[in-house]
Amino acid sequence: MTAPAPAVSPELTTLRDAWRGEWPTALGLWSKFTRLGEPRWCFTDEEAEAEGLSGSFAMIRLTDQAVVVNLALVQASQLERFGREILAHEIGHHVYTPADLDDYARLIARMRWGLPTKEHLAPLVSNLYTDLLINDRLHRIAGLSMAAVYLALGSDSTDPLWTLYMRIYEILWRLQTGTLAKGEITDALQGDAHLGARLIRSYARDWLDGSGKFAALCLPYLLENDGQATQDLLKGWRDTQNAGAGGMPHGLTEMDPGERESAQHPSLDPELSGLGQPSDKPAAGRSPSAAPVAGQGRQPFQFGEILRALGLPLSEHEAAIRYYRERAGPYLVPFPSRLRPESTEPLPEGLEPWDIGAPLEEADWTESVMLSPTIIPGMTTVQRVWGTTEGSQPKREPLDLDLYVDSSGSMPNPQVNLSYLTLAGAIVALSALRAGSRVQATLWSGARQFMTTAGFITDQHRILEILTGFFGGATAFPVHVLRDTFKDRTPSDRPAHVLVISDDGVTTMFDKDEHGASGWDVARMALERARGGGTLLLNLYGDWQANADLLRANTEQGWNVHAVRSWEELVAFARWFSRLKYGGREAQ
């Protein structure tokens, strides 16, 4: 039995009804075609918190295009009469800026370049910037008195950042000095306010292009105390603070063209400052001569920091998984496969474990329950194995992939900086999964320091989790994992390709195992029973043929050896791999 819900005060119900009545008008201020679901009205702080809103009286969620309003806080802030202004403002975040999660991520990414040493304040500065753009548009085009809202918030703060912010509004809206800005207005602050106002008008359409400049404008005011006073004052109106929670932006692994270069202080832009000789060229807008250069790759740690700034609570490791998945996506290659006669009559042959990454419909629930009354997905679940009788229709059967990733201290940490080896591994693993292969991934470093999927699986996330992990310890290849994987493999099992990602520490795979057996013998046995070939993908700076062990592995056992230290070598490897034939040898 649940506790009865607390009674809603009649004042809040009246307020909700009044604001609900303003909603269609607020939508119409942007366009008569604007469609957006009615806000989630919260009557208590607890309800607001359940919606992800804490501290602010309103917020947006870009993942489900929602507006959330905390009516109790609206009442406490004495903003009841500004329903139209506040709702129109929140709608502006959905239809104007940032509008969607991808652009919000690009906004944060651009602003970070303008905030060296204060990158973590990009969400705050982006909130100031987007609010300026939206409020100015509502003031000019819709005729709303947004200044009245700030007057009602009633701050006499003399904080320099807040004074700058308010002074920009005064200039934009032709308000007398001191109407909103209460702090000291020095010449430099007045100049910055002019530049800010000019920037807001000049970049009203291409607001992403002006975002880095706005961040650079705010930076000097954030150095002393992170703009703490402004953070406190804006606490009630941090409506984009967690706007990206639950979503995932796309295209963030690469920088926008000109993203970094454009983040300069607006006083350095003659078109905004107006300093210099008069010319006949129009003053506002972007310079066509400042053609941006092509986009560069972003590093995994930067990618993770941007995601966290969007309100996505991701660890560095989780961010790295998403980073390599996105970067590998465009470079997936055909995975080796062979043509086999297709069955005309499926024959049930037995059961095998069903893991979480496999399609749900493949699980045999009846047999799983018979095996264990308590279902633990991935542990007690089984799936039916079907045999085939040969028919006339051909069918492609891919290789499985057995992946060993060196994570010793000599290898770069793929969670911090881009590792071409890890990216190459991601390309091959994702290509394999796309072709219908199963993958076993093993992350290894020192003796007994390893992590493995313990079997061939199709769970993409788990495989990338292993691939992007990092131990940073000693170097000792897990010979026993290679041995145990293939010692019982029969000719009827699907062939597998063995891929080892490492550096010169790869030669530890030829050391003796814990029983004293030769690693050379284990490697030969594995390659023979795998029947899909093997590749050593190495971060080597010398000629690999100068290494006697690698040369022997190549000539005696048939291991392919590739060095990947740069983007060009990565592309060359991917091209080579796409030409592999079924047996692990390159096609002619």
């Binding site: 060296p116 602050l189 000097p220 202080h265 107006g274 003053a283």
Partner: protein, 195 residues
């Protein structure tokens, strides 16, 4: 600025609608199309002022195109503004208009392209307010303090002064940041070499 003048919006709109004839190339020597002295003479007559003196007429017929072209173009635009029926109906601004066109536009024409006073809303407003101040007027509906504050905010000269101050502050801040980054890099290098 003691007296109330016409509404600001009416004059800024007039500027925005400045016809192509007043935006045409002013005649300097043998080049250009519009005789600025003739336009100004007509204006002063319409505003009830005295005719142009020889000295005034000569000042609107300079020989140095490079130096005076932008100023002459701004004079033409201001002449269009001053032809507004409200000013004509007062029949008392002729002399002040002559002084304003002769000497009141030199400073801003040295800083801003004349065409901006038609195309840019802020510059339009600035020109209107400068004209009103020259005639001892303020926009209708504004207090003296509001009118003065707004003119100061919009003033190209003042604006360039404070932006130059902001630029210098940014240069100083950038130098400090660069020094801090250098120091941090040196400390990191020293720590690395110790380890």
């Amino acid at each position: 600025m003691e007296l109330e003048g016409p509404p600001l919006e009416a004059l800024t709109r007039r500027l925005a609608e400045c016809p192509a004839d007043f935006m045409a190339e002013p005649r300097v020597g043998a080049l250009g199309q519009v005789a600025v002295a003739a336009v100004v003479a007509d204006l002063l007559r319409d505003l009830g002022g005295p005719p142009l003196t020889h000295a005034q007429r000569d000042s609107f017929q300079p020989a140095d195109a490079k130096r005076y072209r932008n100023w002459l173009q701004l004079v033409l635009i201001a002449a269009w503004l001053l032809h507004d029926p409200w000013f004509q109906s007062q029949t008392r601004f002729g002399a002040a208009a002559g002084d304003f066109l002769t000497g009141g536009l030199a400073q801003i024409s040295a800083l801003t392209p004349a065409a901006s006073f038609v195309s840019d809303p802020d510059r339009r407003e600035e020109l209107v307010r400068l004209v009103l101040r020259e005639f001892g007027l303020r926009p209708a509906g504004e207090s003296l303090a509001q009118a003065q504050d707004r003119l100061t905010t919009l003033s190209t000269v003042e604006r360039q002064r404070v932006i130059a101050a902001a630029q210098k502050a940014e240069e100083r801040a950038r130098a400090v940041r660069a020094a801090m980054e250098k120091q941090a890099a040196e400390e990191a290098a020293a720590q690395y070499s110790r380890e």
